[in-house]
Amino acid sequence: MADTTYATNPTDPTSLSPSPQPSAVRSLLRLWPFVRPVRARLFTAAFVAVVASCVSLVIPLVLKWLVDGPIATGDPGGVWLGGGYLLLLGLAEALLFGFRRWLVARPLSGVEAAMRAALYRRLQRLPVAFHDRWPSGQLLSRGTTDLQMLRMFLTFPLTFLLVNGVTILVGGVLLVAQRWSLGLVLLSPLLPLLVLCSVFEAKYGRAARVVQDQIGDLTTVVEESVLGIRIIKGFGRHRSQARAFKELTRRLRASELRKARLLAWIWGLNTTLPECALGAALVLGAVQVADGALSAGTLVAFLSTALALRWPVESIGFLLAMSNEAATATDRYFEVMDEPEVSDAPVAGGPEVGRAPGEPRADAADGGRPAGSAEPVAGRGPESGGRPRSAPGGLVFSGVQFRYPDAPPDAPPTLQDVTLHIRPGETMALVGATGSGKTTLTALVPRLYDPTAGRITLDDRDLATIGRDEVRSLVAVAFEEPTLFSATAAENVLMGAADAQEADLRRALRVAQADGFVDALPQGGATPVGEQGLSLSGGQRQRLALARAVVGRPRFLILDDPLSALDVHTEALVEAALRQVLATTTALVVAHRPSTVLLADRVALLSGGRITAVGTHHELLRDHAEYAALMSGEEEAAR
C-alpha cells in the first residue's frame, strides 16, 4: 500500500477535536469511582509507606547511637540492647515494606481489571455508528497499555508523591527550624522549580498524548496486517506494508524522543537547582561558621538533613511526569466511557404517544413475545393472536429517512422516504443496485442504527418505543458477512436463541444444510470454530450464520444475501428448507439473483435510497426496466 495511506489517516477521531486539555489533577480525579472500593487499603498502604520510610530514617540514627554510645564506652549490655533494637527495626522495616505491597497487590490489579471490564462492557453497548468511527486498535490500546499505565500510577507515583511530599515538608520544617536563613536559601529553588516543572509537565502531557495515540494507530495497522494477510500475500505487498509500518514506528520513535527530551529537562532542572541551593547554603554556612555565628557541628547536621532530601526532591520530577502520562491515559479512557451508551429502555413518549393506549399495546405484548416462549410459527403469526382486523401488523417502514451521522451535510441521505409494508408471514425480497442502501435498510430493523426520520413498526409497535434488547429478541439477522465467534459450532448457532434445545439446533442445522458438515467435524457440533478454532470455508460459515438466524424461530427474519457463497446444489437444498421457515415468518431478504428472489412472495426495488417498485418477481421483470437489468444483467440502460 502506498506510504501515504497512514499519513493521511487522522490519528484518532477525538484528537482532532479542539477541546482544551483538562488539568492533570482533574483528569486523575475521575479515577476515584474505580479506586473508591479499595480506598481503605490504598490509604493504609500509603500510611504504611510513610511509617516504613520513617523507620528507614531511624535505622541509621540507631547505628550512630550504637557506635557513639555503647560500643565506644564498651558497655556490653548496651551493645546487645542496641543490636536488639537494630534487629527489631530491621524486621519491622522489612515487614512494613512487604505489607504495603501486599495491601495493594490484589486491589490494584482489581482496579485495572474493573476498569477494563467497564470499558469492554461499554464498547459492546455503544452504537454501531461509534464503532464505524473508531479504529479498533485505538480502542484496544485504551484497554491495554493505557490501563497498565494507570495501574502503575496507582501503585507507585501516587503513593510516593505523598511519601516524598511529606518527607520534603517535614524536612523543610526541620531545616528552617534549625537555621532559618540557611533553610530559606535551601528552599529558594522550590518556587522556580515549581514554575519550570509545570511548564514542562504541560508539554510533557501533550507529548505523552501523542505517543499514546500513535500506539493506538500502530495497533490498528498490526491488526489490519493480520486480518488482511491474504490480500497482502496475494499481491506481494508485505514489503510496502512493512514500509508503512516502519514509517509509523519512526514517527512513534520521534514522539517518544520528544517526550524523553522534555523528561531530560525536567530531571536536569530537578537535579541542578537543588544542588545549587545546597552549594549556596554551604558557602553561606561556611561564612557564618567563620564568623562564629554557627557551630561546625550544626552546619554538618543541617547539610546532612538537606542531603537526605535530595532524592525526594529529584524524584518529584519524574513522578509528576508519570502522573501526567497517567492523566492523559485517563483522558483517553474516558473519551470512550463518556460516549453516551444507547439506552436499552424504550424511548419515553415518541411518535406513539397519540395512539390509544389500550388495544395495540396489549396486543403487541401478546403477539410480540420473544420467539421461543410462544409458538408463533405454528400459530401462523399475529393473525391468530386475536389482532384487530384493522391493524396491519408485520414489518412496516413509513417515510423512513436515514443519514449516517458522519456523512457530509450536503450529501443526500442514504435512505429517503422509504415506505414499505411487509405483511405478517410474508417474505419480501429487497433488490437494488450495488450501493443502493439495502444493507443499511436491513440494519435499521434490529436497531443497529435508528432512522433519522420516519418510523418503523413491528406488529404495530413503533420500533423506537421497544427496547433494543427486545427488538433484537424479535428480529434475527443473517449478515452479509458471516462472522463466527471463537466458540463451538453448536454454540455459534445457539447464540441465536435464548433457550433453544438440542432439537432446535438440529432443525436449524438442517434448514441451513449444515448438519452434514457439522457432524463430520472432528468433534461434531462441539468442535471449536472461529478465529481460535477450525477455520471453515465461506460457504460453511454462511450456513452456520443462517442456522443461527433461524434457530430461535424468530418472529422477524432479516437475511442479507444469505446464499451467496453456496454452490448451486447446496443452494437449491437450502432454498427448499428455507421456504418452510419463511412460510411462517415475516422476512426481509436482500437478494442479488433470481434464485434468491424466488424465495420471496413479493419484491421491493430499492433505488437511489427510495423504494421505487413493489410487486412479484415476474411483474417487475416484465414492467420495470431497472429491475430486469438487475436480474438479467443484459440491459445497460438502467445504469
Binding site: 490489579s109 561546625a296 542531603l307 472432528p522
Partner: protein, 633 residues
C-alpha cells in the same frame, strides 16, 4: 465465545495448514494428530531455544554497543558529581573556614565554584544520560517492532490461521511495552546498583577484610533469594503475557464482530466470557505483585539481619580489642548503604523478568519458520511470448497433505495452457481452493512442483511471483486509507488515471464516484458502508491494476449482483483476455466463458474438458449445469 485459549481441552484439534475453506472430511483426518504442536499454539507457548530471550535482547542491543557504553560513562560521571557533595563539605569546613577567618576568600570561592560546577555537571549529565538512553531504547524498540511485524508478514497463512490476530497484536504492543519499561528504567537501575555495590564492597574490604568477607558471605542468602524470585516471577510473567493475549483476543473479536454481537444480544454472555479472561489476568497480575512483595520482605530481612549480626560481631571485636572503633563506625554506615539498593534491584528484576517473559514469547514467534520461504537465489521468468500476456502453468506430480497428515490432493498432473481460462467446479471441500492456493503459492505442495513457464514457483522471488500470479478471494478486506489507496495496492506506482480506468473496466467507477469524497473517501471511516459486493469490486479493480500473467479467482464474485458479475465477465473478456485464468465459482455463468472445465471431487479431477463437451457427456458437470440453469429460472 465461551471457549478460551486455555479453556479448551488440550486434545482439541487445531486446523492444519490449509484448513481454511477445506472440507470437513479432511479436517476430520487431521484431528488429534501431532497434539504437541497444536498444544504449543493453544497454550500460547511456541517453542524457542533456551535463553532465547537473552539472545534476542543481546542481538537487539548489539548495534548500540557504543551508546550503551556512553550511557554507562555518563551515569558514572553523574554519580561522581553527585558524590562530590560530602567532599566539598569537608573541604569547606577544614580549609575554607580557617582561611576565611584568616581573611583569605580564595578557598571559599573555590568551594562556591566547585559546588556550582558539580550542580551543573550532575544536572547536565543527567540530561545527557536520559537523552542517550532514550535514543538507545527507542532504537531497540523500533528494531523489535519492525522484526515482529516483518516476521509476522513473512509467515505463512497456515501460521496466521492458528496464531490468531489478537496474539500477534499482543506481541507487537503489550509485550514490546514491557521491554520498554526495562530499557527506560532498568539500565539506570542496574548500573547504579552495580556501581555502588562494587564501590562499597571494595571500601569495606579495604577498611577491614573481615567485614568485607562477612558482607560477601551475607550476600549468599540474598543471591539465593534473587534466584528463586527470578524463577518464580518468570513463571508468573509468562502466564501474565498469555493472559493478556487472551484478553486482547476477546477484545478484538468483539470489536470486529460488533454487528452480530449486538444483533444477537451477545453482550451479556460476552461480559461473562470477558470477565473470566480478565479475572485470569487480574490474578496473575496480583500474583506478580505478591511475588515482588515476598522478595522485598525476604531480601530486606536477610539484609537487616546481616547488618545486625555484623554490628554485634564488630562490637565483640571492639570489646576484645581486635578492631578500632572508627573502623567499626565507618563500616556500619557503609554496610547499611550496601543493602540500600535491594528494593531497586527488585524493581530491576521485576522489569527484567517481565521483559524476559515477553521476549520469550516474541522469540517463540520469531523462531517460527515461514512454511513458504523465499528462495535464496531467485530465478527469473522467461520473457513473455509476444502477443499474449499469459503464461503456461503446469502441476507436475503434485500432491498436498496437511502437515498433520490429512491428504487433501492426491498426486496429480495438470497442464494449463497459456492464455486459457479454466473453470474449477465441485462441491465445497472438493479441493478447489487448495488447488488455487498451490498455484498462488500460499502453500507449497507436499510432493511435486508447480511450474510457471517451466520455472518452479519456489524459485521465484516474492516480487516476481506476485507480479505474475494474483489471486482474488471471496473476502475482500479493505485497509485503512482511501478507496484509491486500496485499489493501488495492486500496483503502488499506478497513476490516478490508471486506478480510475481499472475501476471503470470492472464497473466500480460509478459507486466510487458517488462516495462522499470519490476515490479519496476514507474507507475506514465509512468502511462499514461499503458493501461486500462493492468491496469485491474494489478487489477486482486491484487485480486488474496488478495486470498479472495468471489470475486466480476464488469465489471472487459471490457477493456481486448480476450486473456486477457481468461487468467482471466483460472485463475478463476484454482487459484480461490472453491471460491465464483459473476461476472457481459456484455460479456457472462464469463457466460459460471458460475454455476448459475441471470438475473436482474428493481432491481428484474427475472431469476435464471444454464446457460444451462436458454438458453433452451427461456427467457431473452436466448435472450441475442443469441445476444452475434451473436456479436462474
Amino acid at each position: 465465545m465461551t471457549t478460551t485459549t486455555t479453556g479448551r481441552p488440550s486434545d482439541a484439534p487445531e486446523p492444519g495448514p490449509g484448513a481454511t475453506r477445506q472440507p470437513s472430511a479432511d479436517t476430520e483426518r487431521s484431528a488429534g494428530q501431532r497434539p504437541e504442536v497444536d498444544d504449543a499454539f493453544e497454550r500460547d507457548r511456541l517453542p524457542a531455544p533456551r535463553n532465547a530471550a537473552r539472545a534476542l535482547l543481546a542481538s537487539l542491543l548489539a548495534p548500540h554497543r557504543r551508546r550503551v557504553g556512553l550511557v554507562a560513562v555518563l551515569l558514572l560521571l553523574q554519580q561522581a558529581a553527585v558524590q562530590a557533595g560530602p567532599l566539598l563539605v569537608a573541604y569547606a569546613l577544614d580549609r575554607a573556614v580557617p582561611a576565611l577567618r584568616a581573611g583569605d576568600h580564595g578557598p571559599l570561592v573555590a568551594v562556591a565554584v566547585a559546588a556550582g560546577l558539580c550542580a551543573a555537571a550532575s544536572g547536565g549529565l543527567q540530561w545527557g544520560f536520559i537523552r542517550v538512553s532514550a535514543l538507545v531504547s527507542q532504537d531497540v524498540l523500533l528494531d523489535l517492532r519492525g522484526r515482529i511485524f516483518r516476521h509476522g508478514q513473512a509467515l505463512g497463512l497456515d501460521f496466521h490461521e492458528r496464531y490468531t490476530s489478537g496474539r500477534l497484536i499482543s506481541r507487537a504492543t503489550t509485550d514490546v511495552e514491557s521491554l520498554r519499561e526495562l530499557l527506560d528504567e532498568g539500565i539506570q537501575e542496574l548500573i547504579t546498583i552495580a556501581l555502588s555495590s562494587v564501590y562499597i564492597t571494595v571500601t569495606l574490604l579495604f577498611l577491614d577484610p573481615g567485614f568485607g568477607v562477612a558482607a560477601l558471605v551475607s550476600a549468599a542468602p540474598l543471591a539465593l533469594e534473587v534466584r528463586s524470585y527470578r524463577r518464580r516471577s518468570h513463571r508468573v510473567y509468562s502466564a501474565k503475557s498469555t493472559a493478556m493475549a487472551g484478553v486482547i483476543v476477546q477484545f478484538t473479536e468483539t470489536l470486529n464482530g460488533i454487528r452480530p454481537v449486538q444483533a444477537f444480544r451477545r453482550e451479556r454472555p460476552n461480559d461473562e466470557a470477558f470477565a473470566r479472561l480478565n479475572h485470569r489476568h487480574e490474578r496473575v497480575n496480583g500474583d506478580a505483585f505478591l511475588e515482588m512483595a515476598r522478595y522485598v520482605v525476604l531480601s530486606r530481612l536477610a539484609a537487616n539481619v546481616a547488618v545486625a549480626a555484623i554490628v554485634l560481631w564488630g562490637a565483640y571485636r571492639v570489646a576484645t580489642g581486635g578492631l578500632a572503633l572508627g573502623v567499626l563506625a565507618a563500616a556500619v554506615l557503609y554496610l547499611r548503604r550496601l543493602y540500600d539498593p535491594i528494593d531497586r534491584l527488585g524493581m530491576f528484576l521485576n522489569a527484567y523478568e517481565s521483559a524476559a517473559a515477553s521476549l520469550q514469547k516474541i522469540a517463540g514467534l520469531l523462531a517460527q519458520r515461514p512454511t513458504v520461504p523465499e528462495p535464496s537465489a531467485p530465478a527469473g521468468l522467461p520473457a513473455v511470448a509476444s502477443g499474449s500476456p499469459g503464461r503456461e502453468v503446469a502441476f507436475r506430480g503434485v500432491s498436498f497433505a496437511y502437515r498433520t497428515g490429512g491428504e487433501v490432493l492426491p498426486r496429480f498432473d495438470l497442464p494449463l495452457a497459456a492464455g486459457s481460462t479454466t473453470a474449477v467446479v465441485g462441491a465445497t471441500g472438493a479441493g478447489k481452493s487448495t488447488l488455487a492456493k498451490l498455484l498462488a503459492r500460499f502453500y507449497d505442495p507436499t510432493e511435486g512442483r508447480v511450474l510457471l513457464d517451466g520455472v518452479d514457483l519456489r524459485e521465484l522471488s516474492a516480487a516476481e511471483l506476485r507480479r505474475a500470479v494474483v489471486m482474488v478471494t471471496q473476502e475482500a478486506f479493505l485497509f485503512s486509507g482511501t478507496v484509491a489507496d486500496n485499489i493501488a495496492l495492486g500496483r503502488p506506482d499506478a497513476t490516478r488515471a490508471e486506478i480510475e480506468s481499472a475501476a471503470k473496466a470492472i464497473g466500480a467507477h460509478d459507486f466510487i464516484a458517488a462516495l462522499p469524497d470519490g476515490y479519496d473517501t476514507d474507507v475506514r471511516k465509512r468502511g462499514g458502508r461499503i458493501s461486500a459486493g462493492q468491496r469485491q469490486l474494489v478487489g477486482f479493480a486491484r487485480a486488474l491494476l496488478a495486470d498479472p500473467a495468471v489470475l486466480i479467482l476464488d469465489e471472487a464474485t459471490s457477493s456481486l449482483d448480476i450486473p456486477g458479475e457481468r461487468a467482471v465477465q466483460r472485463a475478463m473478456d476484454t482487459v484480461l483476455r490472453g491471460r491465464t485464468a483459473v476461476v472457481i465459482a459456484h455460479r456457472l455463468s462464469t463457466v460459460e466463458i471458460a475454455d476448459r472445465v475441471l470438475v473436482m471431487a474428493d481432491g481428484r479431477i474427475v472431469e476435464d474438458g471444454p464446457p460444451d463437451r462436458l454438458i453433452k457427456d451427461r456427467g457431473r458437470f452436466a448435472a450441475l449445469h442443469q441445476a444452475w440453469r434451473d436456479s436462474v429460472g
